[in-house]
Symmetry: C2
Subunit: 639 residues, 2 copies
């Protein structure tokens, strides 16, 4: 038997009333308290430990909990939030380590202002009751009233809404609010005047994170934001392994779709709880993501996007009823998935361009969205050429010995002082004890080591440098950024030779992509009026350092602009502006796509770009002098 119970979350002091037999995890989500979610609430990761003050108020320990909790923890009332079901009123403590880490995630991005023109409209109407002298049917009665108020003559009604039409009108005593989508379909009828409650959600489904924002569609303003790790990570860290899982495992595709939908629903539920908004009052969701995520979200097999000739199932925008897809907003609401360009240039990239506005400018832009795949655009209002390169997750902190995501405790900036025994100055997110280094600091580390001569332009350690920080462990050289005494992990934080190779491969792919694209578009470095960098680093990366390692072409630093999460910004624009939506569609059709894999020059360009900044310094004229001087110093120092 279910009953109503009251749950208090501490230390927030947030109270919520729910029906019993619900998991602590679920209630925490409803209360807007973020608990870690690495395994998607399946009792596998053991990261959601919470303390229940009254042990009798929850269900018995599960096998999963016995595996993850120490006896002394069990004694102290520790439980896994995803496993324990609530039975009675209780108080729950959420320890710091179980909270979603305060990540420095780029939720906001550069966003070109667009006139507010949402596709969802609400109309409060008071209808005359039917009489023997006015026997108009319920639907036609609404149509007439809407015609008077809006001038709209032709309207459909969603079947799910039609089913309950007679009851709701009579229960509301003929005083209702009608929600229209795209001036053509009734998607909700609510009792009384609810015209002030009209919300939308923009979602960016990344390979590693799902980020969303809740937007008040009356004002177009964002009212809350949130994110989680993409729970698909359980089925493969990178895109290709997930595509393989979907293609080869039994029910693999269904599983990955369900899991990403769970994730999206989690974000929606979280951002709604944050703003105290009922998810029923969210009527539209716009979604961007790379092409593989786009397909998996729609339950379409992404297999063929991953193998030559990398063909997506569809590039046009897709509108699906929320209820059909399983997105938990108003059941008849709309999910608008933005269009893609190609197998590796997805809806997130369309959103990047849309938000950056490079398609509206006479000036020539080079736009990079750096991630595990980096999308690159070059062009202007006349024509844009795009490509994608497999840059790997090094700049997201993966495949780097002490790399980490941009969450609390990550080093986000650093410099090395060669004059003072190669001392490392650094700054961490949240000013916490350092746990590792995130993308922006990885670039800094490589650039600084290059500047100090700790590594050479081939990315090899210079063992002539004499400092205890440069050492050889098991035959492999590494450089110590943080000594264990200072670190939050009790271990030294280092950069290894292998880390350097990862960074070199990543940046070489990006640089080669830029070079080929510019070549095919016949754009020289000097022609570039602005270089825009999107993506989620710890903080805006240091443009001098990015250039020094040859991550980006040699354009003056004042032309470099960091634009943040333009993918989400573009999704937000499409949410609040029909015009932006149309523009996105046009962009997906008009942006040309270059397949790097079939470009004859790519391999050579890539190989040359593995040097720091490049094998041929003529490609970096502004740095020529610097490297000449550096080289002389080196010779001077060690001879």
């Amino acid at each position: 038997m279910k009953k109503n119970i009251t749950v208090l979350f501490e230390p927030e002091g947030r109270k919520i009333e729910v029906e019993s037999e619900i998991s602590i995890f679920e209630v925490a989500r409803m209360a807007g308290v973020g608990i870690r979610f690495e395994c998607g609430g399946k009792g596998i990761c053991g990261k959601c430990k919470v303390i229940v003050l009254d042990k009798k108020s929850v269900s018995k320990l599960t096998e999963n909990e016995k595996r993850h909790l120490f006896p002394e923890e069990i004694e102290s009332g520790y439980r896994l939030a995803c496993q324990a079901l609530l039975k009675n009123d209780t108080t729950i403590m959420i320890p710091e380590e179980s909270r979603i880490l305060r990540a420095k995630i780029q939720v906001f991005g550069l966003e070109r202002p667009v006139p507010l023109k949402v596709l969802v409209g609400k109309f409060h109407i008071k209808l005359a009751k039917p009489t023997l002298h006015d026997v108009r049917p319920d639907f036609e009665r609404i149509l007439n009233a809407l015609r008077v108020q809006t001038g709209i003559c032709e309207l459909n009604i969603d079947y799910e809404v039609l089913k309950f039409l007679p009851e709701i009108l009579r229960r509301a005593n003929w005083d209702v609010t009608i929600t229209l989508w795209n001036q053509q379909k009734i998607i909700a009828i609510e009792e009384g005047d609810t015209s002030d409650r009209i919300f939308g959600v923009a979602i960016d489904i990344g390979t590693s994170k799902i980020v969303g924002c809740l937007v008040d569609l009356k004002s177009g303003k964002t009212v809350s934001t949130g994110f989680i790790e993409n729970p698909q990570i359980l089925y493969g860290e990178d895109i290709i392994s997930r595509i393989n899982f979907a293609a080869n495992e039994k029910k693999g595709l269904e599983t990955l779709q369900r899991v990403v939908l769970d994730g999206v629903n989690h974000v929606i539920s979280y951002i709604c709880a944050q703003a105290n908004v009922d998810a029923e009052n969210v009527y539209e969701v716009t979604v961007v993501g790379n092409t593989a995520m786009h397909h998996l979200f729609l339950g379409v097999n992404p297999k063929y996007t991953a193998f030559s000739p990398f063909t997506p199932a569809i590039k046009s925008p897709v509108n699906v009823k929320a209820g059909d897809l399983g997105v938990k907003i108003c059941k008849s609401g709309n999910v608008h998935v933005l269009p893609v360009i190609a197998g590796f240039v997805g809806a997130d990239a369309v959103a990047d361009v849309l938000a950056s506005g490079i398609h509206m400018q006479k000036e020539i832009s080079l736009l990079l969205d750096i991630g595990a795949n980096t999308e690159i655009f070059v062009g202007n209002s006349e024509d844009i050429l795009s490509c994608s390169c497999a840059s790997g997750p090094a700049f997201e902190g993966a495949h780097i010995r002490h790399g980490m995501k941009a969450v609390t405790g990550a080093i986000e900036k650093l410099s090395i002082n060669s004059a003072s025994d190669y001392e490392v100055e650094y700054k961490t997110i949240g000013d916490a004890a350092p746990l590792g280094i995130c993308g922006s600091a990885i670039i800094d580390a490589v650039a600084e080591m290059l500047k100090c001569g700790i590594i050479n332009r081939k990315g090899r350690f210079n063992l002539n440098v004499k400092t205890p920080r440069l050492r050889i462990v098991d035959g492999n050289p590494e450089f110590v950024l943080v000594w264990r005494g200072e670190s939050g992990t009790g271990r030294d934080i280092v950069i290894t030779q292998r880390d350097l190779s990862e960074v070199q491969l990543a940046k070489a792919a990006i640089f080669a992509g830029c070079s080929i694209l510019m070549k095919r578009k016949n754009v020289k470095v000097n022609d570039i009026d602005q270089l825009l960098i999107a993506g989620s680093f710890g903080s805006y990366i240091n443009p001098e350092n990015a250039k020094l390692i040859g991550l980006v072409p040699d354009v003056p630093v004042e032309k470099v602009k960091f634009v943040g999460n333009t993918a989400l910004a573009g999704a937000r624009m499409a949410l609040i502006s029909a015009e932006a939506r149309e523009t996105a569609d046009n962009l997906s059709k008009s942006i040309r796509y270059l397949e790097l894999a079939s470009d004859p020059d790519f391999q050579l360009e890539f190989a040359m770009a593995t040097f720091l900044p490049h094998k041929n310094l003529d490609r970096f004229p502004s740095l020529k002098e610097f490297f000449k001087k550096l080289n002389n110093e080196e010779i001077h120092k060690h001879h």
Copy 2:
């Protein structure tokens, strides 16, 4: 474990391969063998007895079977087809009594010819495979091919089809047939060239029967027809009791919708099996029915259509995806429910007008669709006025002592010879031994008794008539139509005083409806150019007799025309013609509706019309002489 088994139905000799663990009933349906279905396959009615030759090839006896089968039947291998599940290859005998009775149901009706313009189109296309030089996505590849072939530029794809797009194209080696609905949405993609397999279904959901026809959409020709009793009958014989069930019982509405959907699916499956058509190749269904059936089919509460002011939820046509509604055709196919006019003038009535074409003629028509509710129309191309009257089920054989539906064994015509001791000559459906009388013969019986002076114009028996056929049982007079020796039931078939009252009330309601409607429309009897009668009687009723009892106004017999099942004919027209569909929509908007309940003259008109043919013989000038003569004869005879 399921396995493939072969089932042979005798005496048809029809063989079918199926997966085991399926009910005999289900397999019979798939094989196109009609078994009775009164309880909807729930083991309640016990009407689906079949003989299984090898007892071991089916599952164990259920409790329901033990209740319905005699021990000797069980010994002989009798089973209930809906209860027994098939395990192994076997042969099944279906005894005559378990077959759907060969009913003389009016499947065909008058149908105005319309130009064939179906909303479903099939296009066989061969696509170029994607290469690195032609990376168009799957959907856009199809769009381009369709544009070349059809000129259509803007197309959606149903989400369910999109999901499987990449797989089907590759499995089919890029040779597929695309099905478009309304030149705007892709609703199916099939391997190879299937363009010759394109079907639609028209369905008329009556209170007592569900009738359907399968139409080849290439030619517009009907290829098979079928019907079943409306299985909702378990939840109430008449509309009002079903509406009450839907409104007041827990899950009542869901139950009635599910049951009527089961019935519709049964008919579809049956007519497809008859014509050896895969239901997946049915892409559209058009549906008509009275307003209550219309609402129940859509799962909309019909409560408010039944109580003043009798307001439907919607009168506009409704299009719903077959999969969303649960109609078992192509999942993304369309179900088009025709529009209604008012709470008691439904989509079936719109179809009546559509098929009869009275809205296109200068001549004035009076159109009646006689059933438990009789819909009446009067007018021409300028204007049509409609009403509905509760005529009760007497003419469908219900509420009459020995009344029955127009199935095998029902008397469909009769005459009484007063010169030969009131001998009754009759004809039965299928020329079987008489079991009862159906609607057309009920009219004959009353008229003949009136002509012979057995009853008077008040509908009372004239006990002065001396014949053993007129007798008094338990104080109530009755007339014997068939002696038990001749009947197929072993009992006398009679007409009672109570039966006469039922007929009088029914015909009075219809006549009063006609009178009021003509009055309000200012049409005199002489203005009527044609009198059209639709509905399912045993055979076309005798127009002289219909007039004699005052069922219809006094128009010359040559102006009376029987038009059959115009409801299904109209649904069929809407299936094969976009133009007809539009006309139906216009008719539902333009036909005016008169609420008899609020007409001040109705009660008096009704009371006067309970006489045979009418209290005031001035209303039947053509019969005046006849009744004067009859009266004289009577006086002469008994004095």
